[in-house]
Symmetry: D2
Subunit: 173 residues, 4 copies
């Protein structure tokens, strides 16, 4: 086994990652560790990531888990968490899953989201579990399940599509 | 013609509205003027309405127009306006249209939204035009078109469903 | 252990099911076996179920699997399977899951579906796997994954909402 | 004024259309008349268009109206028209609007549809009115309103996205 670098042309020379490659099996190098992706996101989306309300809990192949830390400003009439806050968590969780899989494609943009609000969440952290169900050259489609921390009943569910621009292009529209 | 009060049982005695009823034609009294609805919203959703970023531009039968005043915190990488901010405007515009039509049903909650992001908006105010396409006893369905102020190309489009609870009940789910 | 009947008031006296109840654990009696539900569906939706193109492969708590047998009439230009045929499979799979869970609520109607077509399916049977993510008194929300038989890449994914009428009422709208 | 032919490169030499161009104003030549588009659709989608159940009522810039003639096979339990039949009408109406605007892009495929079923339609013809709200190089987004003939209350509403392949490519996914 020997350390190597992440060699994907799509990472464009950014953020080399030390990975240990097992000689017998082929492990696809990940573009980011959680900390590296977090640092990248703070750099390109400071308004969203600098506050510390969002945390990447996990990155896995075609998947990501993001936590939205509870804050009174997310609350709405009746003590529920605002729909837009839950929408934002879905949007971010998909984006994190895509970057985790594809690399630093900062210009990837949401083209479509469909979200169902299922149950009133408790005033607690929300956990968004995203998985990509399709990753093409130009479009990624994923779904996100949102849970109140510590419960097993889904509070919201969304599917969303992202457009991933080719290098040098704006997002395909 | 004589002034009268808004007599709908559903308004529950709140906010009487002086309307002029033409004796020859029947005009359905509106539950709120724009200012009254604005005051009601500040009372029940201060986190959203106190900042002054949102303004009700117009209320009409089965319709409402809401403005989201531009602010740097809505911006994202590349100078575009965040998806969640546009989602929030759709959500609010539908809610305003429903309250304008039904009265102070503060517990009405979004159950489903499908939103398409069509064009990158300019860093300018966003105008959300909502119209209700169906208003039943328990469910309201509407669509919202979002425009950058001063342009005619839609930047986003959404359809959404709200659940309207009966008096004394929580929202039907 | 002793045999018993399905006692849910909502089944309205139809199609009693013999179940064996383990004395030590409580197994919720299912409203239908696969064959019973199939017979019920042929009775209420002959146009859909009599042709034999649809088969219930499995019923489980909050879930159902339905097969759409391939037929040339489902094909479209380029050899792909028509979107409406895939939509119909999603719709049916959710309906089957709901009836399997709730009983013979024939008047349950679809209120909303959002469907993503991900990959061109092969001209083969389609397998629709539905799971209910929420089952309330009046609304059920579920998701469906569609696969071409024998493959593991999803060809379509949908989420849908059904309105379940109370006895004697038409579907809540 | 003089007659001219449709010169768009995208029509690839098919189906020249005689148009009368006003010398003072510029009218963009349409790719198809209603009859020409109907003939093209019968050729590429005989399973859908040969039966005569579907008729193009109107083609206009960025819009199309399609009629689904009522037939007992579309009926469901309780006398309502099947969701899949209404979905198919939405899908077709968008496709017709796209071809009317772009030309014979037979490989254009639906990538996403979100549909709301609003009211139970009468057992009558359905009229689907599609308008494109965005037409990019690779993606088209439109909405469709469905009415029962002779009524003004919408029975269903959908928004959908189509992927339009570049010449020689399969649909962008």
């Amino acid at each position: 086994m020997r350390p190597g670098t992440c060699g994907s042309a799509r990472s464009g020379g950014r953020a080399p990652i030390l990975v240990v490659r097992a000689t017998m099996t082929h492990v696809k190098p990940r573009h980011f560790t959680v900390d590296q992706l977090h640092a990248y996101l703070i750099e390109i989306f400071p308004q969203v990531w600098k506050s510390g309300d969002l945390r990447i809990e996990d990155l896995a192949p075609m998947a990501a888990t993001v936590r939205l830390i509870h804050h009174p400003r997310h609350l709405r009439y009746g003590g529920t968490i605002a729909g837009p806050a839950m929408f934002a968590l879905c949007d971010v969780a998909l984006y994190v899953a895509i970057l985790g899989e594809v690399g630093p494609v900062a210009h990837a943009v949401t083209t479509n989201v469909s979200i169902n609000f299922l149950r009133k969440p408790a005033p607690a952290d929300l956990i968004g579990k995203a998985r990509l169900i399709k990753l093409g050259k130009r479009l990624a489609v994923g779904e996100v399940e949102i849970y109140s921390e510590g419960t097993s009943d889904m509070v919201a569910h969304a599917t969303g599509t992202y457009s991933i621009p080719a290098r040098g292009e704006s997002a395909v529209q």
